[in-house]
Symmetry: D3
Subunit: 289 residues, 6 copies
């Protein structure tokens, strides 16, 4: 009987979210260690298929992970460096496009389709999704080759895929009007896309369980952070490294209409379900003041 | 962490049912002791409002319970009896109509509306829903007055209310072409209506927790019973009294296209949610062989 | 031949009204002596069915008439009085709801359905139609119990019934957010509903043939009265009693968009047809200045 | 009061016809003496505009009347005769087309438009409405020039005009695949068009008040005639002259799905209204056995 | 091979125009010598049918040409003259209507229909297309009878015909509210209609190959003229006679939203195709500055 | 003038094809030498963009060409051989997928998008387009690894892209239910896809100008070949090598509803335009007997 009552409470807690999120779009950035853990990947795609089943529209943006470096090594492409930063020359870019646009992208598509979802993999060139340009580094005027930044997003192709009930899977590659191809930071693409799609949620699945108020202290995770709190943490240097572009994308997204943004650990079991259908969630949510 | 995993499993179990039942109609017969227990009533209508919220179309058929007898007593209407069965004469029928069609029906409507549902209460006269006639008792040719049986159901008004997102609440009263009003068994009305609506489910909320293989043995509840098993139990006399019309309506409903029929205890907490969104359920399900 | 010509002229007079009123909503308040005259009732419902047949959307609001007092008497409910006004206590309210919401309401529904119309009877609780509150009597601060006034009308359920080609029949009962039930003046409900429905016409079927300029003089009926004329009559005390709330509802309705309001005698043969399809009409029409 | 009751009865009689004929198509052949009587013409077009107003779709087919002969005379076109029948040679045909297709057709259009109807005048060439061929006279093999008969009707243009709420006015002229123009009997065109349009009614407005059982006896008009009765009258030679093609078109039309066909006097006041909206009618109705 | 390449270039030149003009309306005024040359007429209607085939909506406005005078002569109608201008009296107007509204109009309809187009011929009376009035000559106050000017255009009937995939063929006749018929300059009708239809193009097919900068010099045709250039030519008296109303209609049309206006020679082979689907065109195009 | 007339004739010839092919789907297999000639590629994609512009729905299926071998060489993947046929082992398959699915596919997409088309590149995994299995070689039972054949086509994703006005670009890769990836012959994919899409045309752009009756004789190209003629040529061994799967796909496609199939030289200028919009065409068309 007690088990029944507990089940009933989980359901009563979850049911209103179903209604609230029905027909809404969630942009999910997926990267980091999950990409190389078969079990976590399978769990994740199962959860994403379940979301689709109950009327939520997940959109996946993926990064490249270690696969790019492996392929560069196999092809014996030697990287040049400027100020310690690796340059993406033409040859490197071709490898990046092959790995992101085919190896990783189509693997995700095939895994979701095996789980009875219907995924379609595209990159930023398809349907003119991402117009990019060479990224400028204003501080020190260096040229890192085909490292790009987003000029504009035309979300039509993604909206069409959603309307036709597909799960779009997007490789973070764009091109400019001259036909040059650029490799773009996947976190940034996810943020800009969430804005262009007027998404309900932007979710970063990472290797950490949210934002810690004290980076050293495991138990200092914040459940919810407002803009002013987040800015304070940034100023104090407590948010660094790979977390910084995620947090900045969250701030930008919320400022421009995305209702809620989340940073979660992809290493927990079923993080998306727990974050979406329970009142407390399991990561850090960044919201407007 | 363990709590999280358990929550996740409840969700993973429940999610496919959401999709499966989205847009489907459930006819729920509600009667017996729940009708006089304020807390159970409130829980029930909360659950029904949640079902509506997640895209299921509940239709409520209610009985009269002790309120009819109370009112007859107050009005000092003396019942006549034939062969030990009470006769529903004109005066009694007027009382039955007032209690079922207004007192009980509008109380349910008001309670659901307070819970943010949108209920509309009607009886079988409205929109020509139930065409009835005097019930014949073929075995012993007696006349019980305005005790009726269903001649035909025109479910249009119920379908219209569903299409406009209302929860229909139905009093089991019908009339014939001459304008005579009849009191009809609510279990039968629920069964016929489920068939006419091509409902996904027909659910009887009763005072017992399903069908027992051995009426004496509390632990002998059957989770699922096939037609042949049910018929065997009836022949052996193990299904009797108020349970009999429910079981017969279940058999008729399943034979005519209602996918699943259930007999549950309305005295458990949240019986509808547990029956609908868990794999095991909590009552007895009667299905085709 | 002369007969033909006269018929032709009736048709030529009537035809433009058909076109003008096609798809328009008429709110018809029905009460008084017609309620107890079987022949007048039948004629009235035949005319209402004809109106529906030719594309007009009639909405019926009914009062209670003598039936409420009869039932109170049967149940030996003793009325309390404050300042000479009867108090509607809880017990009285329950009787009012049963009589209005079931006995009278469903009788009208059944009669119209026998005439091949399709009626659906509801009260102000259904679909949240009428939000009510305890009526305040500002002049002398008395408490008459569950005598209510309209807080707001949500006409959606009535519009849905019209859109599905039903004739809505409405009992003037509402409830507040705490679930208290109130008895409301049917004339007022008809007027507020006509406004909320943006009705073309609001028609009061009464026991008199319109408004007399001189109450003593049978032949002083006014065909048309403007606002200023009506206000003058009120100030001079020539409109009194039950006529007053009707006239005030007419004034309010016309001020808020109802095109024409009428006060007719329901005791004439086919008063609705004659009022609607002839140039002269048979009662008093109240219009804007 | 008596006048009121009579008015009410006319309305009660007429109302069901409004519903029955709403959205239905009536093909009205108009010819004979009405064409030269300004008052009758105006009355007729007023009635047709009223029909349109109340949701009936009138389609007018007109003949030529005396205007053709007048124009032939003015132009000093001498007619040739074969076996006593006038030959429509090329020159005559050009005159016929000008008079039917412009003078008469556009006069009707302009009169209806002045009465706030919306008429559009076309001939059988427009939109490929009437495919015609030279009429063969099987009995005596004579050539009467451009006297045509209907090969096929493509009612699309008429249906389009109806769908756009116009009153189509049709001149009985057709052409063949070589571009030859033919003058066709207007009664026949009306009949064939009624069939092609699946019209509810085919109405001939003539100079007589229907079919007489005894041509000599003014009072022998038949209200309704069945196929067998009509055939009997034809065989006995009691239907002759201009009435014959009308009757034959009626028979053909009813056999092929036109519900009712009428032959009326256009000289009575408002014949269409009386025929359509009263139970008795004023002419002869020909129906299936 | 060279032939192939040339074909390919014509196609590459033409293809974008197909897309650009798909679903657009072209008003084509057709008059002058083409009207009496059977071969040119056939070519023209073939081209118009092709335009319709590829998704352009041609609308034809025709003049009367010599046929009117021939018929006046045949009928021995003597024209009166005022200040040297012919008066269109009632009798003349009747002839004009017959010739324009039937002889010419229906001949065009029949020719297009033989070429598998679907044409419908109407005049300005049909569907209330052209409301006209007696033309005023402000300079010298003379009365030329039923010479009309356009008061207003209701393009609904033409839009309906286009929407139903017909090619409208329009005779330049209108009437006023009193039912008087007027003959209106066809060039003016074409211009006003192009404006009312929000046409993409207004094309005048004439006997000359456009506007010459020097009327004497055959080779001085201008391909494109702006408003200021055209006005300059008018002021210098270099545009005269029948060309003047065409040019003025072009100016008015372009000022009011018609995108491009053209004056072409109808004597060239396939002038419409060459003007529409080639970059250079063959006549004079008048555009906004 | 002569030039004008020639232009007009090209247009008159081309116009009916526009109408005929509007909204129709053409599957275009593109491979061979064009893939490495920048000018030919650009011309081809310009023509494809023009086709889209005028309402035709082109679908591109591409092969891999020399790029796959180049990448295998760079990665120093050594091919194994069985019976002289190269084995596609796991490592080779990964390279094939990267080159087909990203390098070539996205280059085509980017080029079309630069020409203002809207292309979207997918492979057979996306949306479950191609279900494949290991190809069996029945004659000699060898295992060539991940060389696949088509089990079934679900064209929904391609139809969705067409409906949203994209040009689908398809890499001939499929997977089975276990998630194995296969490289499939692009000619076969094009043929099966044309059938599944109920395409109007299937066009192979090759390095030769069609099918020669005598392979040695340049001037022996057949314009049209029927099934019996083609089968005769195959039996006589006159169709061999890479031409054979194309011809077999054409035969299968025509048998299953594709209206026309073509084998053209992609080395001619604008081969698609000339084949589609001229009566004669430039390659070999294979049609049903």
């Amino acid at each position: 009987m007690k088990e029944y009552i507990e089940k009933a409470y989980v359901l009563i807690e979850a049911l209103p979210y179903f209604n609230q999120f029905n027909g809404k779009t969630f942009v999910i950035k997926y990267g980091g260690s999950i990409m190389t853990d078969e079990k976590l990947k399978k769990n994740l795609f199962e959860d994403i298929s379940l979301l689709k089943l109950v009327g939520i529209n997940p959109v996946i943006v993926h990064g490249g992970g270690p696969a790019i470096n492996e392929m560069l090594k196999k092809l014996q492409v030697k990287s040049k460096f400027v100020n310690g930063l690796r340059v993406t020359d033409q040859e490197t870019m071709e490898v990046v496009e092959m790995v992101l646009g085919a190896s990783i992208n189509k693997e995700i598509v095939a895994m979701i389709n095996q789980l009875r979802g219907k995924a379609v993999g595209i990159c930023g060139k398809d349907g003119g999704l991402i117009k990019a340009t060479k990224k400028r580094f204003p501080d020190n005027d260096i040229d890192l080759g085909f490292v790009g930044e987003v000029v504009s997003i035309d979300p039509t192709i993604v909206e069409n895929l959603i309307a036709n009930d597909y799960i779009p899977v997007i490789a973070p590659i764009g091109c400019d009007d001259e036909g040059n191809t650029y490799n773009i930071n996947a976190d940034t693409v996810a943020g800009k896309l969430a804005i262009a799609l007027k998404a309900e949620k932007l979710i970063y699945l990472t290797d950490v369980d949210g934002i810690r108020l004290n980076p050293e202290d495991e138990n200092s995770r914040a459940s919810v952070l407002s803009f002013s709190e987040i800015k304070d943490l940034i100023e104090k240097g407590k948010i660094q490294g790979g977390m910084l572009p995620k947090v900045e994308s969250c701030i930008e997204a919320v400022s421009q209409g995305v209702v809620r943004t989340h940073i979660l650990s992809g290493l927990l079991p079923h993080p998306l379900l727990l974050e979406i259908f329970t009142d407390q969630g399991i990561g850090t949510m960044i919201v407007n003041d």
